[in-house]
Symmetry: C2
Subunit: 398 residues, 2 copies
């Protein structure tokens, strides 16, 4: 039977990464293609204790229907954390708890974009968000990312020429997939351009707490005096992604509509997860936990960069050093004898999985010389083995 599929969904495809995961599921393949937090980063013991306490002392709160806005104590705890630590959230802002930060992308797009409206994003950018924008039939306009963030000239040009631009989507810290961090200067320039052209900014910050070197750069939302920034936060990298817990901080007028949309989407976010996160933030030493995470990821990232220096750089593959996050962006030389796609294919045939860079572009048919590797999921042994193989391929093929 031929089913009628809506225009917005007809052309949607599962993300290319999911297709790559099929190869990665083979246990003999070293997967550098995931984006999972390191399992040793989960505060398992604390979650176990808190969960037991909740289910014995206040089971009905955890099991009964709750309010769409989110568990009030968690909303307050997150708000205070974001206020005190990052100066995020002003007098006209409010906070909404979501089922992962992914839901912020969905609800915000649903709320502010008509079909055919344009979303400006970094090129490359996070596939999950791009697919969320696509699922509302938005046009995507990618702005090339440089070592310190979007090319500002290209951004202004897009704002001038693109029709019905609704917002600029940016991951300013340790971007997925490029690993780059947008400089303060560029953050300010992007904010000023958004204000000048009357568009909003969707600032997605899933990796913000995972800085391993350098100085913190203020969030765009922290200098949002005009109320044009919607901030998306996540518990996936600091607590657990399986809990599906995120939040949005932004203008009340926009959040109110997002709340109505959330009511029709999943009523509210899993209550147990919200209660666990609240008690973990307030009854345990949350800052010490975050410090511990940074140590885990710093060790892993530095080990990975050492391996890249040792095995890949001599073969002609370059990469940008990162200051945090979970990803490193590697690029083939301009004069490589084979394409990046062919290189990634050869990698899979040699039992190493990486994600080809074009998967992160607004048009997957575009060319890219880069691929993304992840260092948080594999063990040290897997990482060394995988990168050694990539190095051998680079020496043989490039």
């Amino acid at each position: 039977m031929d089913y009628i599929i809506s225009d917005r969904v007809k052309t949607l495809k599962p993300s290319a990464i999911r297709e790559i995961f099929k190869y990665a599921a083979d246990p003999s393949v070293v997967s550098l293609s995931a984006g999972n937090p390191a399992p040793e980063a989960f505060p398992v013991k604390a979650i176990e204790e808190i969960s037991a306490s909740i289910l014995s002392k206040e089971p009905v709160s955890a099991l009964q229907y709750s309010v769409t806005e989110g568990y009030p104590p968690l909303r307050k705890a997150v708000w205070e954390h974001m206020q005190n630590k990052y100066n995020v959230g002003g007098a006209d802002d409010d906070i909404l708890i979501t089922s992962g930060a992914q839901q912020v992308m969905d609800l915000f797009t649903k709320t502010v974009c008509n079909e055919g409206d344009t979303v400006i994003c970094e090129a490359p950018s996070f596939i999950g968000s791009l697919n969320s924008f696509r699922s509302y039939n938005c046009r995507l306009c990618g702005i090339p990312v440089e070592k310190d963030g979007m090319n500002i000239e290209a951004l202004e040009n897009a704002l001038k020429t693109e029709k019905n631009v609704r917002f600029i989507y940016i991951i300013a810290n340790f971007q997925n997939p490029s690993g780059i961090t947008t400089s303060l200067e560029k953050r300010k320039a992007i904010y000023e351009l958004a204000d000048k052209y009357g568009v909003m900014i969707l600032e997605d910050n899933p990796y913000g707490e995972l800085r391993i070197s350098g100085e913190n750069v203020p969030c765009i939302k922290s200098f949002d005096t005009k109320g044009i920034v919607l901030y998306a936060g996540s518990f996936s990298k600091v607590l657990s992604p399986g809990m599906r817990l995120g939040f949005a901080i932004g203008p009340k007028a926009v959040l109110q509509k997002m709340i109505v949309c959330k009511q029709g989407e999943d009523v509210h976010t899993n209550s147990w997860a919200q209660m666990v996160a609240y008690r973990f933030m307030t009854e345990y030493d949350y800052e010490a936990h975050l410090k511990g995470l940074r140590e885990i990821y710093k060790k892993k990232a530095e080990f990975c960069m050492e391996l890249l220096d040792k095995y890949l750089v001599p073969g002609g593959i370059s990469y940008d050093r990162i200051e945090g996050g979970l990803f490193i962006w590697c690029s083939l030389p301009e004069n490589a004898r084979i394409s990046m796609t062919e290189f990634c294919k050869q990698a899979v045939l040699n039992k190493v999985c990486v994600v080809p860079g074009n998967a992160f572009l607004t048009d997957e048919a575009q060319q890219s010389r880069s691929f993304r590797i992840n260092f948080s999921t594999p063990t040290d042994e897997q990482l060394e083995k995988g990168i050694r193989i990539l190095g051998r391929l680079a020496a043989e093929l490039l």
Copy 2:
């Protein structure tokens, strides 16, 4: 600042019930307006045991990212349950785990409806679903519900005259809010009409396991030889609504697109909830639990109907006896001296909250002589107090 809000969301309002909840939050008010399962129906002890076991033995599975389709063991357990008990799910069907059944409404609408397409629903119907359809800018066409289900003539007329009808939305068992159960004859007639006019059926069955009297009526999905029915199931009334766990069983071709949409919406459903539900279904006596639930609700429903017979019927208010579910639909006499809206307002002023019937219509501005009461949330004392007050008002005002 004036924010640009999309056309689809601009006119969306929080459900009228939420507004009523504001009054209901006053502890001196008896709320008969909720739809919460009875807290004593939650298998707290079992959830506590299972949760402790999961977090001590397989914490990483519960805390790490998972697949969008749902936890494979749960998908299998639910599929087998629905197959064996209700003959739901055929060779061309598959199952998707969702964040509550509400998400089925959202994903299905997103997948099959363009903006402006028409959804046919029962009048009255469940507000949460209607708002979900509205949030994709669907036109709603309500078909009056009789004691045995939709008026079939009106349904065929709508199918003939409405443009771009995509699906018929039906709660065939113990409908919210009317309490009625669609007869087998009408289920077959609705299925044949859907097939004849080339539209799908979205069969929402949140209360199916809560039958307290009479014989089970086969699900429409159980005789879906053409692959035109998408079945929505829920754990909210049989396990816990706070977990936000539901599922869809329907044609693979449609589910595949719904999965891509879910990826962009919340990636996957909370893993802990999926694992708890799986182990509860397979390691505990699930059928005995369901039988226990039916006993709880039978007692509550019968007590409620006794109170209605005692206090409301003599005052001129009629109601339809129910065979299951959580709601009873009460109607003022045709010659009442005051409107239903005014009656509900007087009820609130006298500290009893019920939901006015027009809140469940496709156009809230339409008139209704009915209101909905819920008997699962209040205690017996609250129920008696509330209905006694309604009876006094009926005697005074009608």
